[in-house]
């Protein structure tokens, strides 16, 4: 492992709802991630994964605590934080009326990639993700699999050192999901720091160097899969999760 690139300290998020009052969606969580690591956030629906990742990507502001992303504080310096990260989730769609090439170029530019190099960067990503044949086709004309590739290219258009994937395989078929996992692995090989949230145990087992189990906003455990197995005496991640999160019936899976 290399140096720590993400340092999360007491990160907390409260929402206020008229009917339910104050809800603590994320409750003082701490963890660190290093370059060349895939850090998995594993939790059931409503556990606080998406809220955590939205705070790290500065879409939401923490109620308390903070995080340093390559030294930039998410509260103090959100624009610089966004410049060094790529955020991918099922809620980050593409502009339907732009072509794949325009999409990648646009996101590269607004994320601060050098204007002199943007054209060659776009060409590189078009080649890398195999979207040459439909680079000039409008996004709304693309298939789901093609959109996924363009979306990945959009995420890394500015070559960020930190990548956040929020349940990236939701809604994908098996082949596309496997392809997505393969791409994430490649990003790790390139030395990027990756935070990956999922509720699919097998995905976390296959991809993550370390896994954090999050339940009802609290971080219950955070270690390598092997260490978690040793700690709990359980073989399968699902059992490990239940060991920490409580009884099986308390956990609502998707």
């Amino acid at each position: 492992m290399e140096s720590v690139t993400i340092d999360v300290r007491g990160l907390t998020k409260e929402f206020h709802e008229k009917s339910r009052g104050t809800i603590r969606a994320v409750d003082a969580i701490d963890f660190t991630c290093s370059a060349g690591e895939i850090f998995g956030l594993l939790g059931a629906n409503g556990a606080g994964k998406t809220t955590t990742l939205r705070m790290l990507s500065t879409i939401l502001e923490p109620t308390a605590g903070t995080a340093l992303m390559q030294g930039f504080d998410i509260r103090e310096d959100p624009e610089n934080v966004r410049r060094i990260l790529g955020f991918y989730s099922s809620t980050t769609a593409l502009y339907p009326r732009l072509t794949a090439r325009e999409t990648i170029g646009f996101f590269g530019r607004i994320n601060g990639y050098s204007p002199d190099k943007i054209v060659s960067r776009v060409e590189y990503l078009i080649q890398r993700f195999g979207i040459v044949d439909y680079a000039d086709v409008r996004v709304d004309k693309l298939s789901q699999g093609m959109k996924q590739k363009v979306s990945l290219a959009r995420t890394v258009a500015h070559d960020p050192p930190i990548l956040i994937f929020d349940e990236p395989t939701v809604g994908l078929d098996v082949l596309n999901a496997l392809e997505m996992q393969e791409v994430i692995r490649e990003f790790r090989e390139e030395g990027k720091t990756i935070i990956f949230s999922t509720h699919i145990m097998s995905e976390a087992e296959r991809l993550c160097n370390r896994i954090a189990i999050i339940h009802q906003g609290k971080l219950l455990a955070c270690d390598t899969l092997e260490a978690l197995r040793r700690e709990t005496g359980k073989r399968y991640l699902e059992d490990i999760f239940v060991h920490y999160a409580g009884h099986k019936e308390d956990v609502v899976w998707a």
């Binding site: 206020h16 008229k18 990507s57 500065t58 879409i59 939401l60 502001e61 109620t63 959100p78 624009e79 610089n80 966004r82 410049r83 955020f87 989730s89 809620t91 980050t92 769609a93 593409l94 502009y95 339907p96 009326r97 732009l98 325009e102 646009f106 996101f107 530019r109 607004i110 994320n111 601060g112 409008r138 959009r154 500015h158």
Partner: protein, 430 residues
Amino acid sequence: MKFSEIFVLYQREIRSALRERSIVVNSFLIPLFMYPILLWVMFTGMTFIRGQEERFDSHVVIHGLPRQHAAFADTLNQIERLQLRIDHGTDSSDIRNVEAVRDGVIDAFLNIDSGSDSSESLVPMRISVAFNESREKSVIARDRILDGIRRYRTGVLTEASHHLGITPVEWNVFTIRSENTATSVQMGRFLLGLLLPLFFIIMVSIGCMHPAVDTTAGERERKTWETLMSSAVSRINIVIAKYWYVATFGCIAGVLNLAAMMFSIRGIMAPLLSGSGSEIVFSISLSSIPLLILGAILLSGFIAAGMMLFASFATTFKEGQSMVTPFYMLTILPAIFIGQPDIDFSLGLAVVPVVNVAMMVREAIMGSYQWDLIGVTVVVSLFFIALSSIIARFILQFEDVIIGSYSGSLISLLKERYFGRGSREPNRRV
């Protein structure tokens, strides 16, 4: 504020919008073609209907005509398309004839009461005209009869005065001749000034409406909002780029509509003017063009800011439309007053947003430049644009708004955050 960043965002908005059929239709095609075509159809239709009306036969029954006024029936019979029937029945037939008018069997009924059966030649007549105002044919019949009565009375008076040795000039006492001193160009500008500001306001509003909803609520619905919010640009630059985009489309819609109306107005008005014998020249002074463009910029600047303010709460296109519609109605309301020719551009009107710009446009078309009022209009418009932009920026710094809470309602935000029970300070993020 970083202009290079804003330009990239603005360029993206424009590019996307130009590829969206509904935006192109609403912001470009409707201003160019819809109102000129609609007006042409309306005026042509009016002329056609008037022509049809003139071809109706009016069936009129007359009762109680004294023999001394038998010539009255001749006068009525001379009226084109008036079919007269004289009823010699008793008084009870009056009720039957009135009912016939009510039922549409006949178009009008004239009941004449001459008082006594005098043998004098100038027997006074009290004429009652029964007609049915809910039937256009009956109204036309009444007008034809009144025209006949006027003609007959003039004839009777002329003859009587002749017997008394009085000439028509003497019993008329004075004659009136009015003269319209307006040139054909002035008349053209007057008509343009009445018509164009009205459509100008509507078109700028329509031009802004679709882009404003599309760039806020539309983004949320398509889930591109979060993609944009997770990028490295500052939120204020996003707001500015979106605002410029909406204002640009509103401004283009306004200018296109003004141009289209000016070029097509002669053809539009031709059906109405064809029979009037008036020679009207529809043209505007070249010096008024910069003022018209300034008007388009100011109006679109204000309307764009207002619409974005409301649409920024919406999470779906439908919500956005329903949020923006009341503001749209509010902006086009002044158009009703501006159509009145007797309203003058005054200091009072110069401080009312939308009205002031519309009045400035009207005056510019008519070739009148009141620079003090134009100055007030510019200052007031810029003030309201700045105010709306500050409010929009203030609202968009709340993350609740950014992630699309409050179901598209500004009132919900105010109630829940500021005025409701247990209201609290919202989280902010710039």
